[in-house]
C-alpha cells in the first residue's frame, strides 16, 4: 500500500522530468530549424497571419477597454490627491511595463496558443506528421519552426499594439469624458516614461513571453496523446501552463528590470 504510493510518486516524477527533457530537446530542434526558414519565408508569413493577424481584433478590443478602465480607476484614485493630471503617467506606465506584455501574452495563449496545440495535436492524431517523416520531410522544420518564429515575431507587435491602443483608450476616458487637461496627459507621460527603462524593457518582456507561450503550445501539441481526448487535454494544458509561466516569469523579469 505505502510502496505503491511511493511508486506512484516516483512514476509521476519521472514522467515530469521526461516531459521537461523532451520539451527542451524540441526547443533546441526548433531553434536549429529556424535558419532553414530563410529561403522559405512564405511559411512564416502564413503562420504570422494565423497567429498574429487573427489575434489582432481581440488584442485591439481588450487593449482599448483595459486602457479605458485604467483611465477611470486611475482618475478616481488620483483625483483625491488633486493629482489627476498624472493620469497619463499611471495609464502609460502600467500598460507599457506590465499590462501590455502580460495581458497580451495571456490572450495570446488563449487565442493563438490553444489553436497551435489543437492543430499540431490533430496533425499528430491523423498521422500527418508521421506521413511527413515517411516522405523524408522533417516535421519540426516544416511545421513547428515556422509557427515558433511566427509567435516570436507576432507577440511583441501585438503587445505594442495593445499598449498603444490602451494609452489611447485612457486618453478617451480621461481627456474626453473626465476632463483631464489634454496637454498634461501627454506631457506628464512624456516626462515620466523612459524609452529604455520602460518601453524597451516592455518589449523584451513580450519577446520572452512570445517564446515561452509558443514553445509550450508547440510542445503540448507534438507531445499530445493522439486521440481526441488527448488533444483536448493538451489544449487545456497549453492555456494553463503558459498562463502560469507568463505570470511567474513576469515576476522574475520585473524583479530583474525594475526591482533594483
Amino acid at each position: 500500500m505505502i510502496l505503491s504510493v511511493i511508486q506512484n510518486l516516483g512514476q509521476k516524477g519521472l514522467d515530469f522530468f521526461q516531459r521537461l527533457g523532451r520539451g527542451h530537446l524540441l526547443f533546441v530542434q526548433i531553434l536549429a530549424g529556424i535558419p532553414g526558414l530563410i529561403p522559405r519565408f512564405g511559411l512564416v508569413i502564413q503562420q504570422v497571419f494565423s497567429v498574429g493577424v487573427l489575434s489582432m481584433v481581440i488584442i485591439v478590443v481588450s487593449g482599448l477597454f483595459v486602457g479605458m478602465v485604467l483611465g477611470l480607476q486611475g482618475y478616481n484614485t488620483l483625483v483625491d490627491f488633486g493629482a489627476e493630471e498624472s493620469l497619463g503617467v499611471v495609464v502609460s506606465l502600467s500598460l507599457v511595463r506590465e499590462l501590455g506584455p502580460v495581458v497580451t501574452a495571456l490572450l495570446f495563449a488563449g487565442r493563438a496558443g490553444s489553436a497551435l496545440t489543437a492543430e499540431i495535436g490533430l496533425m499528430k492524431a491523423t498521422e500527418q506528421l508521421s506521413a511527413m517523416e515517411m516522405m523524408a520531410v522533417d516535421p519540426v522544420r516544416r511545421v513547428l519552426a515556422p509557427r515558433f518564429l511566427a509567435g516570436f515575431i507576432s507577440m511583441p507587435l501585438l503587445a505594442a499594439i495593445f499598449s498603444a491602443v490602451g494609452v489611447l483608450g485612457g486618453y478617451f476616458v480621461g481627456v474626453g469624458l473626465l476632463g483631464v487637461d489634454e496637454g498634461s496627459y501627454w506631457s506628464q507621460m512624456q516626462a515620466k516614461v523612459d524609452l529604455y527603462n520602460d518601453i524597451y524593457n516592455g518589449v523584451i518582456k513580450s519577446l520572452v513571453f512570445g517564446i515561452v507561450v509558443t514553445w509550450i503550445a508547440l510542445f503540448e501539441g507534438s507531445d499530445a496523446i493522439p486521440t481526441s481526448e488527448g488533444v483536448s487535454r493538451a489544449t487545456t494544458r497549453t492555456v494553463v501552463h503558459s498562463s502560469l509561466a507568463v505570470l511567474g516569469l513576469d515576476f522574475i523579469l520585473t524583479a530583474l528590470m525594475f526591482g533594483a
Binding site: 515575431i153 505594442a160 499598449s163 498603444a164 512624456q190 516614461v193 524609452l195 518601453i199
Partner: protein, 211 residues
C-alpha cells in the same frame, strides 16, 4: 484558405500596425524627444550634498528643461580642485609633503555632477550662473535649476571671478570669451546642494538651545 496575396497583405498591415504602435510608444509616450537634440556639451558642478538627485534628472533654466544629469560621482575635493586648476604649482609641490591642509582637502569628499546641456545653449550661459538643486513641488523630484549670473565682459569684473576662483583668471582676451560662458568641460562654480530638512531643523534647534 485565402490566397497567398491576401494573406501577405494582411500580414503586411499587421506588421506595419505593430511597428507603428512601437513608434508611437517611443515618440508620443516616452521621452525620446528629449534625446533627439543632437550634440550638446557637458559641464561639471560640485555639490556638498546631492541627495535626491538622480541620473537623468532635468536641468532647467527659467523652468525650461535644457539638459539632463548624466553622471553623479563621489570624489575627493582635491581631485576636483587640481582638475580645475585652482591649485597653484607651489601647492601641488606641497602636496607631496605632509601639509595638513592638503590632507584635509584630500579627505573631504564631494559629489561631482555632470550636466549634459543642449548644444543650442553652448556658450550662451554665463559661467557665473548658479546651479542649485531644487525640488519640484512639495513632494516632487529633484532637479538642477540654473540661474543666469552676471555676464562679465573681458577686462571687467575681474575681482568677481577672482573671488570665485581664488586666483586671477589668466589669459588673453580671446580665451577670456571662451571661459566666460559655459561650454564643454566648464565647471559651474556657484552651487548649492540639496537642502535637507533634518539638517535645517537640527540647526534651528541648535540655535534655540544655545540661547
Amino acid at each position: 484558405m485565402m490566397n497567398t496575396r491576401t494573406v501577405e497583405i494582411w500580414v503586411g498591415i499587421f506588421v506595419a500596425a505593430g511597428l507603428a504602435a512601437i513608434f508611437m510608444l517611443a515618440m508620443r509616450v516616452s521621452n525620446l524627444s528629449a534625446y533627439s537634440s543632437a550634440g550638446g556639451f557637458d559641464v561639471t558642478a560640485v555639490y556638498e550634498d546631492a541627495s535626491g538627485l538622480k541620473v537623468r534628472s532635468p536641468v532647467a533654466m527659467a523652468g525650461v528643461t535644457i539638459g539632463r544629469v548624466t553622471q553623479i560621482r563621489f570624489v575627493p575635493l582635491w581631485d576636483v580642485m587640481i582638475k580645475d586648476g585652482k591649485v597653484s604649482a607651489a601647492t601641488k609641490a606641497a602636496a607631496t609633503s605632509n601639509d595638513k591642509n592638503v590632507e584635509t582637502l584630500k579627505r573631504a569628499y564631494v559629489a561631482v555632477v555632470t550636466l549634459h546641456i543642449d548644444g543650442q545653449y553652448d556658450k550662451q550661459i554665463p559661467e557665473t550662473s548658479d546651479a542649485n538643486i531644487y525640488t519640484a513641488g512639495l513632494l516632487g523630484e529633484k532637479y538642477i535649476g540654473l540661474l543666469a549670473g552676471a555676464v562679465t565682459k573681458c577686462g571687467e569684473d575681474e575681482e568677481l571671478l577672482a573671488a570665485l576662483d581664488g586666483q586671477k583668471p589668466a589669459g588673453t582676451a580671446k580665451d577670456c570669451v571662451a571661459t566666460r560662458y559655459l561650454t564643454q568641460g566648464s565647471l559651474v562654480r556657484k552651487t548649492q546642494g540639496t537642502l535637507i530638512l533634518e539638517k535645517l531643523i537640527a540647526q534651528f534647534i541648535d540655535k534655540f538651545s544655545s540661547k
